[in-house]
């Protein structure tokens, strides 16, 4: 009795719908498969059932509420009370919140992170936790896998840590770590440690989101790109490396794999497509769901087809090396980095 496995997706920050991220993951997987002779006819979406959990709509709801409320007040002030002496602090707040309705990067990307750190984060976790357990409730007889990217690594980490416990008396809303395993957990550009340093929630070093007999995961893949600014060391990258007794030595050896990719296939080194297509990732990724054992020559030929943009690599490397000199004092620096990286990518595109 082998039903297809389930793959639950958690998108990153910005303007993502659940469906758009699913399409990105599937497209990247199929692009990679197409490089290997004999595997081009396999469609990744035929091998797994994908459930993509969208949480951006909850941030969007809050952003719209803030913008609509402030805009309505501002409109009435202009139309009916042009002579009223509004305190400057109130006027500034109204102006700021009114502009949240614009689709600027700051409000689509950065605001998600800022709102997540507030109690809006708990609202998002409540919605996401329900979605996760809905999937588990219907499908616990099948292997369930998780893939999360960027802010999605924080949302997934915090939601799973909220749902799962290794306490033998779970709360009514919780599942025991040993009873409902997640077969594999793929964290790309993992910012969970950074975000928990802002929110005060349990860090990934202290949570149950891990393999081993204390956690619920069978195999944990933690993947970053050497030139992805979101996973630079100053930004509290989650890098266990056997530290802090996070896992037993055996669990660390057999149930955890940290992967650092180095090839630059796209200017946006944070992009999920670049991560999945990389040969350092895709072999393990495919073998998680189906047999991927091309002969050595086919494997080599396919790996070599993965683009590596040398020229841009050097430019991005130079930019990222500057970022690595930063001291991360808090969220303001992280937000500045996000803004700076996006502006930088736009510049590269325009060249």
């Amino acid at each position: 009795m082998s039903e297809k496995p389930i793959l639950i997706l958690f998108h990153g920050m910005g303007v993502h719908t659940a469906n758009s991220f699913k399409n990105e993951v599937v497209s990247a997987a199929n692009n990679a498969l197409g490089r290997y002779e004999g595997y081009g006819n396999i469609k990744f979406e035929d091998k797994v059932d994908i459930v993509s959990i969208g949480y951006d709509k909850h941030f969007e709801q809050i952003r719209k509420q803030l913008a609509d409320n402030s805009s309505s007040i501002t409109d009435v002030l202009k139309a009916k009370l042009p002579g009223v002496n509004v305190p400057s602090i109130i006027q500034n707040l109204l102006d700021l919140e009114s502009s949240l309705g614009d689709d600027k990067f700051a409000y689509t990307h950065i605001l998600d992170v800022v709102l997540y750190i507030t109690e809006v984060g708990q609202y998002v976790r409540a919605q996401v936790s329900e979605e996760i357990v809905k999937v588990i409730h219907k499908n616990h007889h099948r292997p369930i896998h998780v893939l999360c990217h960027s802010l999605g690594t924080a949302v997934a980490h915090d939601a799973f840590n909220q749902i799962y416990t290794n306490d033998n008396s779970p709360l009514p809303a919780q599942l025991h770590t040993l009873s409902f395993p997640i077969t594999s957990y793929w964290a790309f550009a993992n910012v969970s440690r950074l975000v928990t340093s802002f929110t005060g929630l349990p860090s990934p070093f202290d949570s149950v989101v891990k393999p081993g007999h204390q956690g619920f995961i069978s195999m944990f893949y933690n993947i970053r790109h050497a030139l992805d600014p979101f996973t630079l060391k100053p930004f509290k990258r989650f890098d266990p490396n056997g530290k802090k007794n996070w896992l037993t030595p055996d669990s660390f050896k057999y149930d955890y794999k940290g992967i650092m990719t180095t090839k630059v296939s796209r200017k946006n080194t944070h992009d999920i497509g670049g991560y999945i297509e990389d040969p350092d990732v895709c072999h393990d990724f495919f073998n998680t769901f189906f047999d991927f054992y091309p002969p050595d020559d086919v494997k080599k030929a396919g790996d070599n087809q993965f683009k590596n943009i040398q020229g841009d690599y050097l430019k991005i490397k130079e930019y990222v090396e500057k970022l690595e000199q930063l001291d991360l004092e808090g969220i303001a620096e992280f937000i500045n980095m996000m803004k700076s990286f996006t502006d930088y990518i736009k510049e590269l595109k325009d060249e």
Binding site: M1, S2, Q65, L66, D68, N69, S72, I73, D75, V76, L77, K80, L81, P82, V84, N85, V86, P87, I89, I90, L93, L94, L96, E119, Q122, Y123, A126, Q127, S129, E130, V133, H137, H140, H141, Q162, I163, P170, L171, P172, A173, Q174, L175, H176, L178, S179, F180, P181, T183, S184, T199, P202, P211, G212, H213, S218, M219, D250, N287, T288, D291
Partner: protein, 341 residues
């Protein structure tokens, strides 16, 4: 082997359904469980039968219904025997040089096996309360020499995992169902917090986040707070000042709640705020200070003092009005003005 295991699993599941569908007259007779025995899983059959009958009693509210803990114990007993028998079957795979250490079954006797999962195409992972057993099929080609030709190790492992986890499936369904019910409740409560409670500005969100931070930092599912706090919260109101000249008595104004409170989740939500009101009248001081009272999350009424003149004001939560149609505001204002005049 995969087809035989599939048939076994289907047989067990179908036998549960056969009971439910073919015995409408004897809904509480859980002893009519399928009594056919299988050849391959003969040893574990009796514990499977006991477990199946107990499940039936549990679901039908039978007078001899086991407790959930007893059901879990019977599930563990059956699982342990199934694991041993399945492991013995896998050993029949010819030339499988590296045999999974699941044949070392002492851990099964000491602790209930909690989790069995596959890792890739050639590994098994078995967790108990205290340890993790990992097993690797070193020679993938050997799996092709099973009872069924063209099987691969991934299928062999997948079927073993299915059999190993089968006893716990009904238990898990109960557990995850209970968790889902509670999470559904939390999810609705949070939706209500952001749709039915008084609308919040970004400052309000920051303030409430800070006040309730310890609850959120526990990292557990929690309900939203039942109280809201406000700071620097602006609203548009309609104020009436009797002492103003004709034409200026009833006018829009900006009110700022410097600090406020609302008990949004009670049967009659009530709240109060300290306010300053900013108006634009030639005959009365533009600024008034006072109190604002909130009722039912949607409506507020307040009193102010402009020097010697008293004012009364009302507001409807503009968020609710402006979510869909801006014209609602004009319509509401017209209605109120019409009523007061």
């Amino acid at each position: 082997m995969s087809k035989i295991l599939t048939l076994l699993i289907l047989g067990v599941l179908i036998s549960f359904n056969v009971y439910a569908e073919d015995n409408p007259e004897n809904k509480n007779d859980c002893s009519s469980f399928n009594t056919s025995e299988t050849i391959i899983f003969k040893g574990s059959y009796s514990s499977g039968k006991i477990y199946g009958e107990a499940l039936c009693q549990f679901y039908t509210g039978h007078e001899q219904s086991p407790t959930f803990e007893e059901l879990t114990r019977l599930s563990n007993d059956w699982q342990a025997q199934l694991l041993l028998e399945s492991a013995a079957l896998i050993q029949l795979v010819p030339n499988l040089s590296t045999y999974p250490s699941i044949l070392n079954n002492s851990f099964i006797n000491d602790y209930p096996v909690k989790t069995v999962t596959s890792k890739g195409s050639d590994q098994l992972s078995i967790k108990t309360d205290n340890t993790v057993i990992r097993s690797v099929f070193g020679d993938r080609s050997a799996c092709a020499n099973t009872f069924i030709k063209a099987a691969n190790c991934r299928d062999v492992i997948s079927n073993y995992v299915s059999v190993a986890n089968l006893p716990a499936e009904p238990i898990k369904t109960i557990q995850s169902g209970n968790a889902l019910k509670q999470l559904n409740l939390y999810s609705k409560q949070w939706q209500n917090y952001y749709t039915k409670a008084r609308s919040q500005t970004f400052i309000d969100i920051l303030l409430n986040s800070y006040i309730n931070r310890k609850d959120y930092q526990k990292g557990e599912p929690v309900s939203p707070p039942s109280e809201q706090w406000f700071a620097l919260h602006p609203s548009i109101v309609l104020e009436y000042v009797d002492g103003a000249t004709d034409g200026e008595q009833f006018k829009e104004a900006l009110v700022v709640e410097w600090f406020g409170y609302n008990n949004w989740d009670s049967s009659l939500p009530l709240g109060v705020s300290l306010v300053t009101l900013y108006s634009d009248r030639a005959s009365v001081d533009d600024v008034g200070h006072g109190l604002m009272f909130h009722v039912d999350n949607n409506y507020s009424i307040g009193v102010t003092k402009h020097d010697d003149e008293a004012g009364v004001f009302i507001t409807v939560d503009l968020l609710k009005l402006f979510e869909d149609k801006q014209s609602n505001y004009k319509r509401q204002v017209s209605k109120v003005k019409e009523y007061l005049n």
